[in-house]
Amino acid sequence: MQITRRSLFKIMGAAGGLSAIGSRAAAAENTSDDDYGCLADVGRCIGCRKCEMACSKVNALPPAQTSFEDMTVFDRNRRPDEAAFTVVNRYFSSRADERGQPVPAYIKVQCMHCLHPACASACITGALKKQENGAVTYNPSRCIGCRYCMIACPFQIPAYEFSDPLTPRVRKCTFCFENISKQGGLPGCAAICPVEALTFGTRSELLKIAHQRISEAPLEYVQKVYGEHEVGGTSWLYISKVPFEKLGLYPLPEKEIPHLTETIQHSIFAYMWAPITLFGILAGAMRFFNPQQMSGKPSQIQTEKEV
């Protein structure tokens, strides 16, 4: 059955709470050893921004405001936004090179594709979904624009097309879902990275590589794989020669965040069925008066349509 926004609203009042539980269960089911992941080695990254460029190209993102060769963007920290699913940030560690210059560390930031994604759990319509291959994808035709995902994400990843008044979407790294679903396919960023600072593979294999790499150079690497346990584990993993806190990767509980958000949500929905029904009626009215606005953008992820 194809769930459209309208049919969704019809059933929402009754099933709102249940669907959230459903997606939580799906997330746990979907994760396995063969999930894809990506290992980002901060020690290797040279800050060339080629991954940003490739991401922009393979996801057909709007033209960048400044050239991808403009390295002055590093002067301030950036977050991924609706026009850039990934950004590279520069941090200066306390290390200095032979000439006394501080050694920069570059870190690529994008969706971590959590094993138990808080965004998906927070999403009351199932627009965000953990796919079997590891990607957490977004289906704009299901999205009602509530933006709970943005609040729920512990890494502040999802962005919203506030500039688009008619059909705004939540935007975030797709893990190049379509590409990696193909045999031998790669995410754009990992394919272009000139130094293999990004290694693409199954999460279990990546964990092995990561542990091997850090244990082979114990004096250089921080002896930890970020994302192995954080928020219940993430498909994207980081290893680094500078402490993770200095790169904006803060300590997070090992417990998966969904528990938290679901608790909030469930209690909300326990008492809030009335306003939701009201919103449903309002939305129905909007649909009636302005079908254009409510039609949504065509789905990028075709597979999401079938449920």
């Binding site: 460029m53 057909a60 991808f68 032979e98 790669l186 272009i192 293999e196």
Partner: protein, 719 residues
């Protein structure tokens, strides 16, 4: 029979007439000149031999190596002992890094056209071009082959220096999870070492040439646009680039003069303002003719607006169709017949063609001005220029450019936006290796050759003759101009000895340079400077001397001639040559001088005389292949006799010292190829040591700062 004779006479006459009028600068050619022919001098199709061989090697994909011998560098050294690979094992000096592996799955999708508006017309896999890699140079500098060739394949017969692409192919291979793919292997190895050694580039464009996007989808122009419309369309995206251009030497024809003595801090010197030469003398009052080489449109008088970006000519440097050309007399306007839309839609990087159209053709014709640059360099043989002919170097690959400021400097003009030298690539001790048959003994020489770099510029030995493949003008006597009846004779190279507009000429081909001490600074005669009419006026002269440690011996073309001077004010005259009232129309020197001097803002006494001038031009191009550089005995007569190296060395090794010392530039071979060098065969005083201030051959008399422990006599320096 009679008819044929008449026809013959007629065609001979037409030919003569054409020849006589060929240098007529006032004549507008009907059609733009065709692109230079891509052929060697003998007419056979041109190819850059070293480049093609390297590209062919780059296409090979070796069989994948699954397992390597796991050993630490120390274990490997111990295993190999004496058998560590050396420079003699380097099979290829020069390589191109462009393996098909880098474009095959899983990278192929980067090279497919995909949507997205950030890079219309450019596939992201194609943004950067292949890398030129000086393999042997790296081996010599790194000194240890096993630093890069870090593992040996497991098979017993495998090479210790197996190529990178044998072990590193596809990335993220689940079977070999920790083995980087080829692209990452190169980047990690190259950049890692460059960073660690603080040597060599670590930015993308330091190694890769960047490919321009396909402008056919970007440039929006109506059919038959005029040149200024084209520029406006360029500015739509490249406005900030135009701002860079506004302050560049190619736009202003003036700029910083850090190497001109006494003008190190000035920024106003150049052709546009105050330099003078002994070819067509000076720009002022002759604009429309001279500015046909200006990267702009319409600089026809002193009022040209240098802040008007729409008057920039982007196409003159960025044309890739090889068809763009400017009318020689129209102040920089292109031929109206050209399809400017097509040219604008194919813009890309400059080439030998775009640079050469002005820089090979300076002085009013091919090979006239520069002694080391001429139309042969569009498609030279390896022997004419090893970089351009052997490896297809384009000008900008050496003359690195940033923000439209092009590095490089010359004696002829003061403006410099950065400087380049051979050492930038070849290092301070360039003689480290000679490989291949017949070169085994050469390694003994390297120590001595490298000592030479303190006293000689590379060109001294590696460009032993200039105007190597095409004659260059060496004498221009303006005082003889004006005789329309004089019959133009051809010299032994087939070059004309006279033009009624310009006077008398002499040409030189495969000429021996003049050698002088040069420390990089130039003394320059400027418009308005006083002269001593009794002496030859030095328009440019290299500074330096034997006692100056900064100075090295450098080869020059000296351009000599007679030009006009104000007999009352004792200054050189700026003549008005081109235009309806110019000398080339009126043949009236008095009026030409008066008008020219007025335009230049100088007082003209009304009396003129002819004075001799000389202008020195540095020689840097036309590098000869290394094995043809000057050899020991060609300068050191001390090594000519029976005693050669064993003058000092009591070396009983089985080395033919005599043969070693006598290798060098093969003038006999060059003569057999039709070059005018027979008088140089067998010379052993190529550099005139006495003229340079030595007492004699430094092998006998000692060097300029050191005495040889075994010298026959000690040298005293002149000053």
């Amino acid at each position: 029979m009679k008819k044929t004779f008449i026809l013959l006479m007629l065609s001979a006459f037409i030919l003569l007439a054409a020849l006589a009028s060929a240098p007529d600068p006032a004549k507008v050619a009907e059609a733009p000149p065709p692109p230079p022919k891509k052929v060697f001098e003998d007419g056979s199709p041109w190819k850059a031999v070293d480049q093609e061989a390297a590209m062919e090697r780059a296409r090979q994909v070796p069989e994948f190596v699954k397992t390597v011998l796991k050993e630490s560098p120390a274990e490997r050294k111990m295993r190999l002992g004496e058998k560590m690979p050396t420079l003699a094992d380097v099979p290829y000096r020069y390589m191109i890094i462009d393996s098909p592996i880098l474009k095959s799955p899983p990278f192929d999708f980067l090279s497919q056209e995909s949507a997205g508006s950030s890079f219309p017309g450019l596939k992201i896999g194609d943004i950067y071009g292949p890398v030129r890699f000086m393999h042997l140079k790296h081996a010599a500098v790194v000194k240890d082959c096993t630093k890069c060739h870090h593992y040996k394949p497991d098979q017993p017969d495998a090479s210790e220096t197996t190529e990178c692409s044998a072990c590193h192919q596809k990335p993220f291979d689940p079977e070999f999870p920790e083995r980087p793919g080829l692209k990452a292997a190169y980047h990690q190895q190259c950049m890692g070492c460059h960073q660690k050694e603080n040597k060599g580039p670590t930015d993308c464009t330091g190694c890769h040439a960047k490919n321009p996007p396909d402008h056919s989808v970007l440039v929006k122009l109506p059919d038959h646009p005029d040149p200024l419309m084209v520029t406006k369309e360029c500015l739509r995206c490249h406005d900030h680039t135009a701002n860079d251009m506004l302050t560049s030497a190619h736009w202003l024809w003036r700029g910083p003069s850090p190497y001109t003595v006494g003008a190190e801090k000035r920024v106003d010197m150049g052709k546009a303002t105050n330099t003078i030469n002994n070819f067509c003398v000076a720009l002022t009052s002759n604009w429309p003719r001279c500015t046909s080489c200006h990267a702009g449109y319409g600089w026809k008088d002193a009022n040209f607006d240098f802040s008007d970006k729409t008057r920039m000519d982007c196409l003159i440097c960025h044309d890739t169709t090889l068809t763009y050309a400017k009318v020689p007399t129209e102040a920089g306007m292109p031929y109206p017949q050209l399809d400017l839309k097509k040219i604008a839609q194919s813009v890309g990087k400059p080439s030998r063609k775009t640079c050469g159209d002005c820089h090979f053709q300076g002085g009013g014709g091919d090979a006239v001005k520069h002694g080391d640059m001429n139309g042969i360099l569009y498609y030279p043989s390896r022997n004419c220029d090893v970089h351009m002919g052997g490896m297809d170097f384009q000008c900008h690959e050496c003359h690195k450019t940033r923000n439209h400021k092009i590095s490089g400097r010359s004696l002829s003009l003061p403006v410099a936006e950065g400087s380049r030298s051979c050492q930038d690539c070849h290092t301070d001790s360039p003689h480290k290796f000679h490989t291949g048959e017949g070169h085994e003994d050469h390694n003994l020489l390297n120590h001595h050759l490298n000592r030479h770099t303190e006293h000689l510029h590379c060109q001294t030995c590696h460009s032993p003759v200039y105007a190597k493949c095409k004659p260059s003008k060496s004498w221009w006597d303006w005082s003889k101009a004006g005789d329309k009846k004089r019959k133009v004779q051809k010299d032994k190279y087939g070059m004309p000895d006279y033009s009624w507009q310009k006077g008398e000429f002499q040409w030189k081909e495969s000429a021996k340079p003049e050698y002088l001490w040069y420390n990089g600074k130039v003394s320059r005669h400027l418009i308005g400077d006083k002269i001593n009419p009794e002496e030859t006026v030095r328009l440019t002269f290299p500074n330096g001397g034997i006692a100056d440690p900064e100075s090295r011996i450098y080869p020059f073309k000296s351009m000599r001639g007679k030009q006009m001077a104000d007999a009352g004010n004792h200054i050189l005259i700026v003549p008005h040559l081109y235009g309806p009232e110019g000398y080339w129309k009126t043949l009236d020197w008095d009026s030409a001088f008066e008008k020219g001097m007025k335009a230049a803002g100088l007082d003209y006494s009304g009396k003129y005389e002819w004075v001799e001038t000389v202008m020195y031009w540095g020689l840097t191009h036309e590098t000869i292949p290394a094995k043809n550089a000057l050899g020991c005995v060609q300068c050191h007569s001390a090594l000519k006799g029976e005693k050669t190296c064993n003058r000092c060395h009591q070396d009983n090794r089985n080395v033919n010292f005599k043969k070693l010392a006598e290798k060098g530039t093969d003038f006999e071979f060059m003569a057999s190829q039709g070059r005018d060098v027979s008088h140089l065969v067998g010379q052993s005083d190529y550099l005139n040591f006495e003229a340079l201030g030595y007492k004699g051959d430094p092998i006998i008399y000692g060097g300029r700062f050191k005495k040889l422990p075994l010298g026959n006599e000690t040298a005293g320096m002149e000053n």
